[in-house]
Amino acid sequence: MNNARDIGDVLLKVEDISLSFGGVQALTDVTFEVRAREVLGIIGPNGAGKSSMLNVINGFYHPDKGRITYKGTTRTKMRPHEAARQGIARTFQNIALFKGMSTLDNIMTGRNTMMHRNFLWQALYLGPARTEELEHRRAVERIIDFLEIEAIRKTPVGRLPYGLQKRVELGRALAAEPELLLLDEPMAGMNLEEKEDMCRFILDVNDEFGTTIALIEHDMAVVMDICDRVVVLDYGRKIADGSPDAVRTNQDVIDAYLGVSHD
C-alpha cells in the first residue's frame, strides 16, 4: 500500500552489532539498514533484542562491537543527547512521559534542543526568549492539531488514559522534527480503535513529514499492513529481512514463532 512513496537511500546502517549484559548475549552480529522515508518493522519473540537494538541506535546502550552509520557518518559510541540533536527521536515501550507536566509542556520539552536562548534571557522572558518560546508554541500547536489532542492540552499527563498517553509520547517525539523515529511498541495494550488511530498517525507522519520510521510491534496484522520492510530478530540474531510477504512465508520466522517439531 505504501509503494507509491519513493524510498530513498540508506539513512541508517547497523553493521555487526553485538551487545551483552554480563553473561547474557542480547545482540549478536546484527546487520541491517533503514532507508530514508520507509516504515521498517522490527519483530521477534520476547527477549529477542528488539528494544536493545533501538537503545543501541539512539546511543543509550553502547555496543561491544560493530558500527553504526547514520547519514554517512560512522560511529561506535554516541550519547543519547547527541543522537537527539542529529534527528533521532523515540518513544518507549512503557510510557516515559513527564507525569507532572501538562501535555503542552511535555511536547514543548521535545523541542528543547532547538531552543537556544540562555538562562538570563529566559529569566527576563523578554525579547528574543519570548519570541522563541512563542515560535515553538506555534510549532507544538501544529503537532497537537495533527494528533487531535487539542482538548487535553493543559491536562497533566499523569491523569490521561493510556491510549492518549501513548499519543502524547508520539507528539513529544515528533516535536523534535526527527528524521528517524524509533517507536517501541506504539500499539501495545491498545484496543482496536486506538490501534487504528495510531496506525493512521504513523502513516500520516511518514507521508506528510517524510519521516523514516522504525517500529517494534507484536501485532502482526499491524506490522504486515503498515511496514514496507520487516527485520526479524530471534535470540539476538537477525533471522530474516525483507518485505512483509517474504517474511511471512520464511521458514526460520515460522520456526521462531511457532517452534520446531523435534520428531
Binding site: H81, F98, K99, M101, N112, Q122, A123, L124, Y125, E133
Partner: protein, 358 residues
C-alpha cells in the same frame, strides 16, 4: 460569582502563556502589591516588620531557591543553610573590602559566589539521587559552617567571631547597619522578593524549567530527547544557590544585623525544606505560602493566649505552641500532600464553578 473567566478570550499564544492569564488574578496580585508597598510600611510597627515580615520575605526567597532545586529539578538538598551562609559571608567580605560598591549590588555578587559553591556541591548529583544526594548536601552544610568558624579570614579575624552589617546607603538612604529603619529594610526585602519571584517564574515556565521538570519526572526519557543531565542539574544547583545566597546575605544585613554561623545551621536547612514541602513542591507561589505558614504561625501561636486573656507560663506556652505547630504540619500534609499551592488551585477551581458543585 466574581471569579469567572467567561468572556475572557485568549486570542494569542502570548496571552495564553501569561503568568496570570485571568484578569481577576491580575487585579488580586496588583492589590497585594499596592498593600505591601503602600499600606504596610505605614501601619506596621517595628515589631511586626522586624520579627514577622522581614524574616517572612527572606525565607520566602530562600524557599523559592530550594523549590527550584528540589521541587522543579527533583534534587533533594539539605544544604540550604550553608548556601545562605556563603551568601552572607561573601557579602561581608566584599563590602568590608570594597565599601564603595553599592550594597545591593554586593548582595547580587554574593549570590554568584553562592552559585559557584552550589555547583561544586552539586557535582555528586550526576551519580546519586534522592536521599543519598541529601546526605551529600548535608556534607556541604557541615563543612561550610565548620570552615567559616575555623578560618578567621572569613570574619576578618573579629574576636567575637561574628559578622556585623556595616552601615551602607542606597540612594542616600541607610539600608544596613544599626541606623537603617525597619521600613527601609522591609521595602528592600520586598523588592528583592518580588523581582526574584518573577524571574524564577519566568525560568520555570520556559525551556529551562521544562528541562528541570523532565529530569525530575523521568531522567532517562529526558536524556533521550536531548536534555543533558549534568548541565541541567548543575544549572539548577547554581540558580538555587544564587537565591539562597541572596537570602542569606539579606538575613544578616537586612534582618539580624549581626550573626554567627549558628544563624545558618542545619535547622535553617530543615525549616526551608519544610516551607517548600508544605507550600507545594514545584510551585513558586507555594514557596511563598509555605514561608508564610512556617514563619507566621509560631508567632500567632505565641501571641494567641494573650489575645484571649488566657494566663499561661511562658515555657508551657512555648511547648504547647510546638505541639500545635507540629500537629498542623501533619494535618496539612495528610489533607493535601501537594501543599498549599494545590489547595489554592482547588479553591480557585471551586470558585470558578460556584455555585455548582461540578
Amino acid at each position: 460569582m466574581l471569579y469567572r473567566e467567561a468572556g475572557q478570550f485568549k486570542t494569542s499564544y502570548a496571552k495564553d502563556q501569561a503568568v496570570f492569564p485571568i484578569i481577576q488574578d491580575r487585579w488580586f496580585i496588583a492589590l497585594i502589591l499596592v498593600v505591601a508597598y503602600g499600606v504596610v510600611p505605614f501601619v506596621a510597627n517595628e515589631y511586626w516588620l522586624q520579627a514577622v515580615l522581614i524574616p517572612f520575605l527572606i525565607f520566602a526567597l530562600a524557599a523559592i531557591g530550594l523549590n527550584l532545586l528540589t521541587g522543579y529539578a527533583g534534587q533533594l538538598s539539605l544544604g540550604t543553610g550553608a548556601f545562605m551562609a556563603v551568601g552572607a559571608y561573601a557579602t561581608y567580605k566584599i563590602t568590608t573590602a570594597f565599601p564603595e560598591i553599592n550594597i545591593l549590588v554586593v548582595f547580587v555578587m554574593s549570590g554568584f559566589v553562592a552559585a559557584g559553591v552550589g555547583v561544586v556541591f552539586g557535582i555528586p548529583s550526576l551519580r546519586i539521587k534522592g536521599f543519598y544526594l541529601a546526605v551529600a548536601t548535608l556534607a556541604a552544610q557541615f563543612f561550610i559552617l565548620w570552615l567559616f568558624n575555623k578560618v578567621g579570614w572569613f570574619y576578618n579575624d573579629n574576636p567575637s567571631g561574628t559578622i556585623t552589617a556595616p552601615p551602607r546607603t542606597f540612594l542616600g538612604i541607610m539600608v544596613t547597619g544599626p541606623e537603617a529603619t525597619a521600613e527601609t529594610r522591609y521595602l528592600i526585602s520586598l523588592t528583592f522578593l518580588v523581582i526574584f519571584a518573577l524571574l524564577a517564574k519566568n525560568l520555570v515556565r520556559g525551556r529551562i524549567g521544562r528541562a528541570w521538570m523532565a529530569i525530575r519526572d523521568m531522567d532517562v526519557a529526558a536524556e533521550i530527547i536531548g536534555i543533558r543531565p549534568l548541565q541541567t542539574k548543575l544549572l539548577a544547583f547554581a540558580i538555587s544557590s544564587f537565591y539562597c545566597g541572596v537570602a542569606g546575605a539579606m538575613t544578616v544585613f537586612l534582618w539580624l544585623g549581626s550573626a554567627e554561623t549558628e544563624a545558618f545551621d542545619i535547622f535553617v536547612s530543615f525549616q526551608v525544606l519544610f516551607m517548600v514541602i508544605i507550600g507545594g513542591l514545584g510551585s513558586i507561589l507555594g514557596s511563598i505560602l509555605g514561608a508564610a505558614f512556617i514563619t507566621l504561625v509560631p508567632i500567632f501561636l505565641t501571641n494567641a493566649p494573650a489575645l484571649v486573656n488566657l494566663p499561661m507560663p511562658t515555657d508551657l506556652g512555648k511547648h504547647i505552641e510546638e505541639i500545635i505547630f507540629g500537629g498542623m504540619i501533619i494535618f496539612f500534609l495528610i489533607v493535601e500532600p501537594n501543599g498549599f499551592a494545590r489547595l489554592w488551585q482547588i479553591a480557585k477551581e471551586k470558585l470558578r464553578r460556584w455555585p455548582f458543585p461540578y
